[in-house]
Subunit: 369 residues, 2 copies
């Protein structure tokens, strides 16, 4: 078997951490001795052992002279757990195949160098695209300090999200809504605006039973709920404040914010947002704040106004559109509030994925570079 | 080989007539003797021999005792050519496998009965769905007197067809535009509105070189161009009137219509349209008129107003949406002008096909029953 074969298995293991590893990356490890898999592991949760530790434990003495496949460069620094590169050296592996480098400035090549310095053969990259894709939030945060912003929108064939009255339940079907639950579950934070909170009274929580995620993968925490309330229209009596889980409320004047909630429900952080020239919450600053707080992937679930503001600022890294086979007409609400005048101003995207989810079409796009 | 194997070949042959057989249906025929294909044929053009005639000619004496596969019930009436059922009987075939029945009231079971009465074994249906799909325009016209209406629209991800100024060239790419050329080529008529003629100055002709269609299949005629001008805004000086090909101009007061064109360019029919209560051209009456004129499939290529009117009247049989990976914003023009107020009024559709055409996504839908 070639390296890609075992790396693909390591990526499958890493994938099991999709809903639980943040702020850490999703990582899998496979140890192969004499063509046989003798150890497997994946990182489950921050503070718990890394993938390599699990795999080395399982391999025991069989790790000696073996090849270790890791989906990310082994760490070289002492964090909450000892460095994995040292673990691999101590276990006596002969070779390490690494999918990609860790952009974490604390690692960034040091992991591979530590191995090489100990006489271990290092082969990298291997299935690099897939490995980076699995951790695009972590990668982006390490490189830019900002999380990966995924904007989720549900629309009709004619690009409408609700009737003019606001009526919108339901445009998309149950399968698409379950898919959104999975997007929430893998996100570190879910962002919405005060307008949506007032209009739709959403919970923005993950409802485990609705996700369809295997029990084995259900180690998640509720994502941080981020509410942008630049005009401070919320009173704190909205449903979202009475549901368990942490909340970050971005306001323009923290001193004047009256929102409170029971401490037993989770932390409420009132965050004084820097404002733009137009006196709106500075969305870049908000994302930097979320990066500081260890958010890898955030999900934007908002109305047309806020989604339009993120798009206009070029802050959307991934667009997830659920398109229902229906026409709502030209009086219905637009997908994004965005005032463009000339074709030259259009926002072009690149297709990443197109597939049916139940009776709806799911489109995934990233900005055209 | 089973019947489906040979019928699939017959359907492939029928498909060769996609751009040329109207007002006749597309039909293919395969004659099999002792497990060997001894004759093949397809109908090319009205007035020329039917598929069965071509196949029987090729088979010659080998037709005796053979099985004939026909994608449509053989005709039993004397039209421009003698009835094919008789031809099959004379040639001495032992068995006829028919994909589906001919809804043409002049045939409608008589073809199969004629064969049975002569002692020929008849097996039907066989790949019926595919056979009906190939001739849905013909089938619909025979049943209802109206053509199959295919509405083609090109839009952005957010359901917009042009900037507010009307600027729209180009939302979709060259491959999608070539695909539209093929839709035109297979249509008996292309319908547009005076508004589009005045704004976009379109030709509405098929440009053979742009279609990418094989030379073998290029027996087509230009589709009839149908222009709806209820307010009689057109002068006759628009480009569309100076291009070769027939035109049907639907007006509210034929006596007051001043549009003329050179006879050498083709026929110009000024059609006095019945009007609706709202004083608009009655679209159902227009379709009945096109049915009378032998139109099987018509392509609606219009702006939001006319497309919205067809949709509101429930007259669209197939929606073909080319969706470009771009966002044009909420000031841009809507897909359809259609004033719906409640979710209950939404127009639901069924997915028929989703595929990439160049860099754009092509969605095909039919109304949800």
């Amino acid at each position: 078997m070639n390296h890609e074969f075992y790396m693909a298995r390591a990526l499958q293991l890493a994938e099991l951490g999709r809903y639980s590893t943040s702020p850490n990356p999703r990582v899998g490890c496979v140890i192969v001795n004499n063509g046989e898999i003798v150890g497997e592991g994946w990182h489950q949760k921050a503070g718990e052992p890394h993938a390599e530790v699990h795999a080395l434990r399982m391999a025991g003495d069989n790790a000696r002279g073996a090849t270790a496949y890791v989906t990310l460069e082994p760490c070289s620094h002492h964090g909450r757990t000892p460095p994995c590169a040292e673990g691999l050296i101590k276990a006596g592996v002969a070779r390490v195949v690494g999918a990609c480098s860790d952009p974490n400035p604390l690692v960034a090549g040091r992991g591979y160098n530590l191995l090489r310095d100990s006489g271990i053969e290092v082969i990298t990259p291997c299935l690099e695209t897939q490995a980076i894709d699995l951790n695009k939030g972590f990668m982006q945060r390490m490189r830019s300090g900002m999380p990966w912003v995924r904007a989720k929108l549900a629309q009709s064939l004619d690009g409408r999200t609700a009737m003019a009255s606001g009526e919108s339940q339901w445009i998309t079907g149950a399968a698409a809504r379950a898919d959104v639950q999975r997007l929430r579950a893998q996100s570190c934070a879910v962002i919405t605006g005060a307008g949506s909170v007032l209009t739709d009274n959403p919970s923005m929580t993950v409802r485990p039973a609705e996700t369809g995620i295997e029990q084995e993968q259900r180690l998640w925490r509720q994502p941080l709920r981020v509410i942008i309330d630049g005009q401070q229209r919320l009173s704190g009596n909205e449903q979202i404040f009475s549901l368990p889980g942490d909340i970050l409320l971005a306001v323009s004047d923290a001193a004047r914010c009256k929102v409170r909630r029971a401490e037993s429900l989770g932390t409420l952080s009132i965050w004084q947002a820097p404002l733009t020239m137009a006196n709106k919450v500075d969305l870049s600053a908000l994302l930097a704040e979320l990066g500081e707080r260890g958010c890898n992937e955030v999900l934007l679930e908002s109305g047309a106004q806020l989604a339009g503001a993120f798009a206009a600022a070029g802050l959307i890294n991934e667009l997830v559109l659920y398109c229902a086979p229906t026409i709502l007409g030209s009086e219905a609400r637009p997908l994004l509030s965005l005032g463009l005048e000339r074709m030259q101003q259009q926002l072009r995207w690149q297709w990443q994925d197109v597939r049916m989810v139940g009776g709806d079409l799911k489109l995934v796009l990233t900005p055209d570079a």
